[in-house]
């Protein structure tokens, strides 16, 4: 059961890499967040303790509902149904994805993992992280870059899942709060970018250089 969840989370990355439609990418990232939030609860067979339930619930609500809503609000009025001119094309992105997958598997295989870690979790975590970084670099719309940031955060969260029992609740909630605040502040900034430039294409942000 956990393997299915991890595989689904893996597939959302391919969607994020290969889709030009903004809403599809948004859905993919949100689904990814929810899948990963549900993972530890499923792994425990639904008998998780309060601490685990609280983080899973908070994380799922945040990444599945609150953050997508914030982003949608931020881009309201901006014409962002499609990412028309990405810096790296979609076919090429998927090919790069294959490369990143290979690197993730190799990395996970090289590192001495603690016993009891689900075999698929760590490679998929690294892969998600790399896809997120790639999207930030390869896409020009500010909103898509925020999605990349979220995917990156999801990847790190997934890695943390393997060892979640070591992180205190306060810290975990603090991390979630920071992610929320980050997307909130980025959303406000996107709103201003849209008002200033009538577009949220970060290619327009090019006045400052040496």
């Amino acid at each position: 059961m956990t393997d299915i969840l991890i595989l689904l989370a893996f597939l959302t990355n391919l969607k994020l890499l290969g889709s030009s439609r903004m809403y599809a990418c948004l859905q993919a990232t949100a689904a990814q967040g929810v899948l990963l939030a549900a993972l530890p609860v499923v792994a425990e067979g639904g008998m998780a303790d309060t601490r685990l339930m609280v983080t899973a619930l908070a994380s799922g609500l945040l990444k599945g509902a609150l953050l997508p809503w914030l982003l949608l609000r931020a881009v309201r009025g901006a014409d962002v149904r499609r990412e028309l001119e990405p810096l790296v094309g979609y076919t090429l992105s998927l090919i790069a994805g294959a490369g990143m997958l290979a690197v993730s598997v190799w990395l996970a295989w090289r590192l001495p993992l603690p016993a009891g870690t689900p075999a698929l979790l760590v490679p998929v975590a690294f892969f998600t992280l790399m896809v997120g970084l790639f999207v930030i670099i390869a896409r020009r719309k500010a909103a898509t870059q925020v999605l990349g940031y979220l995917a990156m955060e999801n990847g790190i969260y997934a890695f943390g899942l393997a060892l979640a029992h070591r992180e205190p609740l306060v810290v975990e909630l603090g991390i979630l709060l920071d992610v929320f605040a980050a997307v909130f502040v980025m959303g406000i900034t996107i709103h201003h970018i849209n008002r200033e430039f009538d577009s949220i294409d970060t290619g327009r942000l090019s006045a400052l250089k040496d």
Partner: protein, 496 residues
């Protein structure tokens, strides 16, 4: 109790700042919160209350050193802010570079973010817990982003976006580093993720994971610290934000990230991985100095010039810690000196900007005649920042050099000296004509108030900061030497 209050004062101040309607009262609140924070910092440094919250927060030598810098700088910035906000107000302004009209962010939001920023920095400094440190560090990014976007026009917007994305991504990598440390501690039995606990049990940590964690944290927090080639956000953010914000970013925020790297270096040294960590820090330090030198030569914009000088000095700090021994102690002392001087320079740059209405060094001439006090601070600050003798920077840069030579890194010492002298010459060529030279017949900003720059609140903070930097060059008080010694020991270094 004292420690908790230290974080609580700025946060309460931020909430109040949003509630207060009258501008005057809010400015009084800003000064009051800054003074309260400074007084408490003094008390904490003197009394040294024990760790609280299960060892997650504590004020030892290392923390007190950075706390004192941050608090002192914030007082200076707050005093400057009163005059600045009175002048800037909420009216519409014409942009000095492109002439378009823009408004400023509401003053209440600006003040609240300033205080939140102080609170987040205080928490970053006091956190001894890996996770809490990360949370606080990301909070500093989020609290300061609205400060950079004070002038609401497209250039500051661009700087804010770059700052947010680059720093958030960088810090996310540091979070992965945090998790790696947790894995590294897997075999060490139950262990709190605090730096003192990790250092004590360092030998039981798995070296592969610890190395990977150190690399990720240097990349992550190094982004925030402005180490090249991860510094890309820094010149933009420093040049577009109000000068008092630049002063805080450069003098206080970069240090917070440096402190995080320092703490992690301490763990690596204790685990016997000092060599690995040090090579990385030396390399990054030299690259930062080299890159900064390249961009300082013929830099037309004087605020960007100061920003690149910050990259240079962060390189010096990284280099000093990398060299270890006496150089690490020198680096800690250099962090103090750099903060004092750079903040003074940025505040003076704000005065120049107000007087000349341009950031181009070539169009800024004769500051000594037009705005004598600012011109004086500009020259003295230039001498201090390049490490000229009577200032504290001279002592600290010399200590780092001594550490390099004593440690047998002669080649590193030679490159270090070469880069320092290149930067000295390059900065002199840009900065000195700004102070001397022939003042323009009618200064561009001279319609209205002929000398807007020379208000007491605009000059006294810079003068006070420089005076302290000068005093530190002549005499290091015993308590400071003791604090430096203790702080250097936590990262495996020495204070001569």
């Amino acid at each position: 109790m004292l420690t908790a209050l230290l974080i609580g004062i700025p946060l309460a101040g931020a909430a109040l700042a949003l509630a207060i309607r009258a501008d005057g009262a809010r400015r009084v609140l800003l000064i009051g919160a800054a003074a309260g924070h400074a007084a408490l910092t003094g008390l904490v440094c003197a009394r040294r209350p024990g760790p609280i919250a299960g060892g997650w927060l504590g004020a030892g030598d290392l923390e007190c050193l950075f706390l004192a810098i941050t608090s002192a700088l914030f007082v200076a910035a707050a005093v400057y802010a009163v005059g600045y906000l009175r002048r800037e107000g909420a009216t519409t302004h014409a942009d000095i570079e492109e002439g378009m009209l823009f408004r400023n962010a509401p003053e209440a939001v600006f003040t609240a973010c300033l205080l939140l920023f102080l609170g987040a920095m205080t928490l970053t400094i006091l956190s001894r817990h890996l996770g809490l440190l990360w949370v606080a560090m990301e909070a500093t990014t989020l609290a300061s982003a609205p400060l950079i976007f004070f002038h609401r026009h497209h250039r500051s917007l661009e700087a804010t976006w770059k700052y947010l994305v680059v720093c958030s991504v960088g810090i996310a990598l540091a979070l992965l580093g945090n998790f790696f440390v947790v894995v590294a501690a897997e075999g060490a039995g139950p262990l709190a993720m605090t730096f003192p606990a990790l250092t004590a049990r360092a030998a039981a940590l798995q070296p592969v994971w610890l190395k990977a964690a150190m690399a990720l944290m240097v990349v992550g927090y190094g982004t925030k610290m402005g180490l090249a080639p991860l510094h890309t956000w820094l010149p933009d953010a420093h040049s577009e934000s109000p000068s008092l914000v630049s002063a805080l970013l450069s003098g206080a925020l970069l240090n917070c990230a440096f402190l995080a790297i320092l703490r992690m270096t301490g763990v690596c040294v204790a685990a016997g991985l000092g060599g690995f960590a040090r090579e990385m820090l030396i390399a990054l330090g030299l690259v930062s100095m080299g890159l900064a030198a390249t961009f300082i030569i013929a830099q037309p914009d004087y605020k960007r010039l100061l920003a690149y000088s910050s990259v240079e000095h962060m390189g010096i700090l990284s280099l000093g810690v990398g060299l270890g021994g006496v150089a690490a102690g020198g680096a800690l002392f250099h962090a103090v000196n750099h903060s004092l001087v750079k903040a003074a320079l940025f505040l003076a740059a704000g005065n120049l900007l107000a007087a000349y209405r341009t950031k181009q060094a070539a169009q800024t001439r004769g500051a000594l005649r037009l705005a004598p006090w600012t011109g004086f601070v500009w020259i003295a600050g230039f001498l201090a920042i390049t490490g000229a003798p009577p200032f504290g920077t001279f002592v600290s840069e010399l200590t780092i050099l001594r550490g390099a030579v004593e440690g047998g890194h002669v080649a590193v010492a030679a490159v270090y000296l070469l880069l320092l002298s290149v930067i000295f010459v390059a900065m002199a060529a840009q900065v000195l004509p700004m102070a001397w030279g022939e003042a323009p017949e009618t200064a561009p900003g001279a319609d209205g108030d002929s000398r807007p720059a020379e208000a007491a609140s605009a000059i006294l903070p810079s003068l006070a900061l420089l005076a302290v930097a000068l005093a530190l060059g002549c005499w290091i008080p015993g308590w400071l030497a003791g604090t430096l010694r203790g702080a250097a020991q936590t990262v495996g270094g020495l204070w001569p």
